[in-house]
Subunit: 306 residues, 4 copies
């Protein structure tokens, strides 16, 4: 039975994601994303489940930077988890008496409309995680009156759900990924995604255009691009790319080999089945069979057989 | 004397930025970035000073999203502020007794090395701002032992600086911008930057490549690109662009008109002097004089004068 | 009644083209393409009708080079003329006795199959024009036994048609253009073509790609590209382009202004109705209305109205 | 001793080219370019030397079309031959008496200035080759008074050189190629050229841009591009490309494999040493070593070693 680290404490969305990705796994709650990834790196866990991006908040900076700069890990699976927020309080609390709301800043942002409308006099205080906020609120004598978190967190810590579905948007989704230490990759399924980090050799105008052209020429469709600062001053970025296909696909292999040749560094983050099971539209001439046929043709003409 | 809103309370980096950008302005501290921008929008202030990106943390999501989705504002100036963190505590506190450190999550991340090395047993707690953390720590009976914030915050709230320059990197910089309600733009200086938000018509493969080509063909160099989720589900993004030049420049005007024609929406965020005073390298054939000469040529051939 | 020069003598395909383009014009036969164009330039004629390209032979080098280097002329109309060849001889000649065939080299090439099959022992001799060959063959005592030319030439010079439709392909077409001295352009019809000559600033790798991108970015579709040597040594070329649209169209104007800015020289050769009346597929965002709307938007944001 | 066919009769520029390319070869004069190539195809000769392009006239259509459509042949060498024209006549002819000048149309075009200036009353008549014109002029009772051809042709046929260097430009060059039946290719020399013919799948706007991008992305520099009609009507073209490098080079192999995948057909015409011995500028990341290193990297990440 594998053991997987995740952003704890119990009751987080990460725990929900983990239960979907690996229902039978032993769960190891960690204090934060870095700790969960370190547990996987050091072998205290067989892997970790961490958030990569949120449809409202964007990329999760800590995860993106850990995957780019930390000791290498491989993404082996993903899940898209609908995010539903509840207002949770100790039994006996009345909604009209809530003055101090505790939650993760992303959750506070996503529930801004509800708070402004229903609790206009309350102040919001930032917590390290939504489940952590629930845990804290559950303590007798907590300075906070309510938490915003997943319903599961309320159940876990014995809180009452005063309101549910309080996010400003009902369709918010967080994408979680399952990462492991380097190991053989998941087999191609025909509906895969590959993730990559690219560092530019220099930051000349047009460098990003050149990178995108390496993908376009081989018919590889990007699904996400995110720039992150390298830390070397304003204006210096590296890039996270997600794109359709598996590194075992010829077109993907050639495209990222091209990036590897012309960029300062490319870090492969894994090829894994897409959670949405969407198969890519293969552009004419870019299927594996096309590459194989072209390789045969090239071998022939190189020996003068035309 | 103009009045400018900023992320308060007194002692934040935003206040430092404001003092540089507008030394004589009256200062209106706000609870958060959104509140500062709203003060400018509603006319309670003449403008606001807010962080846009940090060389370590990347784009400031709230600012980016407010500028993209909120009532329109224009960037009229920018400043690059070196970020130096100090460990601040109430007089009499000994460093060995610090168990609970309060600060903004970005500051906690940037000082992770120092904390792990010097205060391995301390826990860190997220605060809404670095200055707010200092303010809180200064209260008698505060549950927190120390704050990580700018030195200026310590001075302001009567805290002692136990350590300075405690960031993991000594060269971290935050870029702050001065925004106002729509108004005549700053004059071109020859070393300007323009900011833009672009929403795609549809998310077809190659859409980003097409956008970048609109810039490249007119010789306009990008200095920042940042994707942000539209909120409509994983995989749907819009883009923030910063690039060299002023919207009054012919090449910039033609490039962004091209984007406006082919994209669902383009929001202009302003043209303003670059803080680093770097003049752009003008590609052959893209100076204003080249555009003017070409316009004259086109007018002639359209009347059959060849 | 306008007077038009053409590649004579009477009976050439050029005469046929002229009769279609300008049925009522007075016709001035010229010795060759250059002479016809010079007649138009010097005012001896009001214009000229010359071949520009042939579906089998390609661009007509003399015409292309005259339009590129000679005193400027404007194309005002085009016609696509099916080319049908006949074997023509003096009355009384038997096909079995034909030993020497006279015609323009292009015609000889296009009838190679017929000659090899039906007249394997005959030799072919190059003539300056197909009609000129017919004229020569018609002379008593001509050293040539037969001409390959248009049927009309045979009728004109009193020759007998021994075989018709003898071209190797039945669908050969020559494109003729009507040129005049610089004058107001034909009005846009919605199905127009524009012709251009472009000289590169330098011959760096990628220069052609850059030119094509100027067209592609504005959604202007090329219909013909032809490289021609500049005369300055092997490897130095200039380019003829034909593309969809009229120079009065905003997208065409911007595209060729872009070329004008970045290339050493651009010579406009005219905008005129397409012979095939095909309307272009207008790419999203590139109609005149789109350009006008974008210009209005740009004017507004330049004054700070966002 | 190899036997090579060439455009005869003796005294042509093609013979000069052949003597440079293969001084010891037996020479087989042919009536025209097609005949010379057919002699090579049928084994009557071991190869052929034919003109491919001229710095003044452009591509030699017959050669280009024969290489594209005829039974496959491979280019194994090239030579750049300066073209100098002389005015040649029978002994005793005075220049003032020359009324009829016989030569190949290309030569007549290239000497147009001299003829207009020095022999304004003479007419020019098209011959199948310059040396053939000299041969004809040498016949007693020839209807022609003079030929324009290479000096060598005059020497060969006993003509007197009345004027030399009579071309309008002194620097005209013709590029001749040595072709053979398919056979092992010449070894790479580090300063090679590769020739190719490409047929488009369909003629959509942007197809040419896509082809050029296949080259550009792999850092392969084009040295010649020529469109030729497919014969299927005006507006249908195929393309001849010459570019730097040898098909054995990794970047060349990947680029033309890409073309092969996305185009209807690609015909390889050979890789051979450049006559000018110019080595290519290798773009960063496109040397063979870069491709090999990238292949190793790809193999590793495909097994999950990151």
């Amino acid at each position: 039975m594998p053991k997987l680290a995740y952003l704890g404490p119990e009751g987080t969305f990460a725990e929900e994601a983990l239960r979907i990705l690996a229902p039978d796994a032993e769960r190891l709650p960690s204090a934060n994303v870095s700790a969960a990834l370190d547990a996987a790196r050091r072998g205290e866990a067989d892997g970790a489940v961490v958030p990569l991006e949120n449809s409202l908040e964007g990329g999760i900076a800590t995860t993106l930077d850990e995957l780019a700069w930390g000791e290498p890990l491989l993404i082996t699976a993903e899940v898209l988890l609908p995010v539903e927020f509840s207002l949770l309080a100790r039994p006996g609390t009345e909604i009209g008496n809530i003055k101090r709301i505790f939650s993760h800043p992303a959750a506070l942002t996503q529930c801004r409309g509800f708070v402004a409308r229903e609790l206009p006099d309350a102040v919001t205080i930032a917590a390290p995680s939504t489940a952590g906020a629930a845990q804290e609120v559950a303590l007798p004598g907590s300075p906070y009156d309510a938490a915003i978190a997943a319903r599961i967190a309320g159940e876990h810590y014995g809180l009452v759900e005063l309101a549910s579905g309080i996010g400003d948007r009902s369709d918010t989704v967080t994408r979680f990924v399952h990462v492991t230490r380097p190991a053989p990759l998941p087999e191609p399924t025909g509906a895969d995604r590959t993730s990559l980090v690219v560092f530019l050799s220099d930051d000349h105008p047009g460098a990003l255009l050149e990178m995108l052209t390496e993908f376009a020429v081989r018919g590889v469709n990007l699904t996400r691009i995110e720039s992150r600062p390298t830390g070397d001053g304003i204006g210096r970025y590296f890039f996270h790319f997600d794109f359709e296909g598996h590194v075992a696909d010829a077109r993907v292999g050639e495209a990222i080999s091209g990036l590897h040749r012309v960029c300062a560094d490319v870090r492969f983050l894994g090829s894994y089945p897409r959670a949405d099971r969407l198969s890519p539209q293969i552009k004419r001439g870019t299927a594996d069979a096309d590459f194989a046929e072209a390789a045969g043709w090239l071998a022939r003409i190189r020996t003068g057989q035309v």
